[in-house]
């Protein structure tokens, strides 16, 4: 026994709050369904604004159908889109939390399995990227953990569809490319994506860190309520400028031409290396599905 071992009688849980793994499973199962059936008020409001802004008659018609579709999905409790995605799960684990009664990862996957089965959601995950055999229960989830202060467990479920995910991109720019280079790249990614990601889209942008950090920032940016600006005014200003540039592209709803190509641009930034300027662009269709629970 080393000097660091616990004294007899010390449960190791002193000051730790216990959360049963079964609660995690239940929460994830519920969030998978809610995210797929019940479009958030943030996304609804963004679509309503888009309906007012759009000038193209076809574009207006499309946005009207998307709103009608989301209302129908909520009312009949069916998925708003058949691509109910891979379950991306963002976990903020309080450092004073002790998950008991099973592994946290297994509890999350059990929740995905249950939610996708009981909610009649599509199972879209293949077990091996080369063999491509469906796992049959939409597991495994893609899970990103973050350990944070406190004694609560926050779980966000973002079912991520492939139509928009496939049009996402990452580039390692150099410091000399600067803000202009970043903005040009983001606009270029959206322009090339055209009709594929089911516009109007939400554009998640991650700038800084390392390659994988930029990608994760872009994904996390999509969990923000649609259209909520970054708390730092200078970043919020960049988001606004990017949104204006993107909406000059003319792609419009469903790529049929129009003013509203994007509903919002969300950017997250992180310190980076003196030689680096990583930029990741993660596109999200108008079905901006994300639901969270705090245990």
């Amino acid at each position: 026994m080393s000097n660091f071992s616990m004294a007899p009688g010390d449960e190791g849980g002193k000051g730790m709050r216990e959360i049963d793994a079964a609660r995690v499973t239940e929460a994830v199962a519920r969030l998978c369904q809610e995210a797929s059936m019940d479009l958030g008020e943030d996304a609804f409001a963004a679509l309503e604004r888009a309906l007012e802004q759009e000038e193209s008659p076809v574009g207006k018609d499309v946005i009207g159908q998307l709103i009608e579709n989301a209302r129908l999905a909520r009312k009949e409790w069916v998925p708003m889109c058949q691509d109910t995605g891979v379950a991306v799960v963002l976990v903020d684990l309080g450092q004073d939390v002790h998950v008991v009664g099973g592994s946290l990862e297994e509890a999350i996957n059990a929740g995905v399995r249950k939610g996708y089965q009981e909610g009649y959601l599509r199972k879209s995950v293949v077990g091996d990227p080369f063999e491509r055999k469906n796992t049959g229960d939409n597991t495994p989830a893609v899970i990103h953990y973050r350990v944070v202060p406190g004694d609560s467990l926050k779980i966000t479920v973002l079912p991520k569809g492939a139509g928009s995910e496939n049009m996402s991109a990452l580039k390692m720019l150099t410091p000399a490319d600067g803000l202009e280079g970043v903005m040009d790249f983001v606009v270029e990614v959206v322009d090339e994506a055209g009709s594929n990601p089911c516009p109007p889209i939400i554009v998640g942008v991650g700038v800084g860190g390392t390659m994988e950090q930029a990608a994760l920032l872009a994904k996390r940016a999509l969990a923000r309520p649609v259209g909520q600006p970054h708390p730092r005014p200078e970043i919020a200003g960049i988001e606004e400028k990017l949104l204006q540039r993107i909406n000059r592209l003319g792609i419009g709803p469903q790529g049929l031409g129009g003013r509203v190509t994007a509903l919002a641009v969300h950017m997250e930034v992180y310190p980076t290396h003196i030689a680096c300027l990583p930029v990741a662009v993660n596109l999200q269709c108008h079905a901006a599905r994300h639901k969270e629970a705090v245990l």
Binding site: Q82, G163, G194, N196, L249, G250, G257
Partner: protein, 186 residues
């Protein structure tokens, strides 16, 4: 832009009458097939085999629906991105395929095959899967049941709403629409 009603299978005359930008309501039988099914159909054609459904005049819908809830004909059933089917599509068009329903851009090879053999590409509203499922009144798996959501299904549709993106004359609504609303700096 006009509203047209068509019934499947599509004839050459019907295809010739459709122009990029037309809004169309499709009725009759269409076939659901996406990535994995396309790979199999393509490989079958390469080997000179017989396809599991009559492709002459057929309309294929790129869709992988959610499982139906009890009492539903089909779950949510909106279009998936068509571009992933591009490498298989010219062979299907040569075999007699006349219509495709999906969303998103097509390759030049697909557009060329559409012009040469007379076929049309329709877009349905991506993400409106719950709403679209209302115009599907029958669904039956006709091949590749092992593929689950990717199995080939014969769907009977009534007034299934689409818009013509690519016509047989080279018209392209995605290009035309974008050009009309694009603002250039200056």
């Amino acid at each position: 832009m006009s509203l047209k009603q068509v019934t499947t299978p599509l004839t050459d005359e019907v295809v010739s009458d459709l122009r990029a930008g037309d809004r169309v309501l499709i009725s009759g039988y269409i076939y659901a097939a996406r990535d994995a099914a396309h790979k199999r159909l393509y490989e079958l054609l390469q080997k000179g085999g017989e396809l599991p459904f009559d492709i002459r005049g057929a309309v294929v819908y790129y869709v992988g629906p959610t499982p139906p809830k009890p009492g539903q004909v089909i779950g949510s059933a909106g279009p998936t991105t068509s571009g992933r089917m591009d490498s298989y599509t010219p062979a299907l068009i040569r075999a007699g395929l006349k219509g495709m329903i999906g969303k998103g851009l097509r390759s030049q090879a697909v557009k060329d095959a559409m012009k040469e053999h007379g076929a049309v590409y329709f877009a349905a509203v991506g993400g409106a899967g719950a709403l679209i499922s209302k115009s599907i009144v029958e669904s039956e798996v006709v091949a590749y049941e092992d593929l689950g959501t990717e199995a080939v299904r014969r769907l009977r549709v009534e007034n299934f709403p689409v818009v013509v993106v690519n016509d047989r004359y080279g018209g392209d609504l995605y290009e035309e629409g974008r050009a009309r609303y694009r603002l250039t700096d200056g």
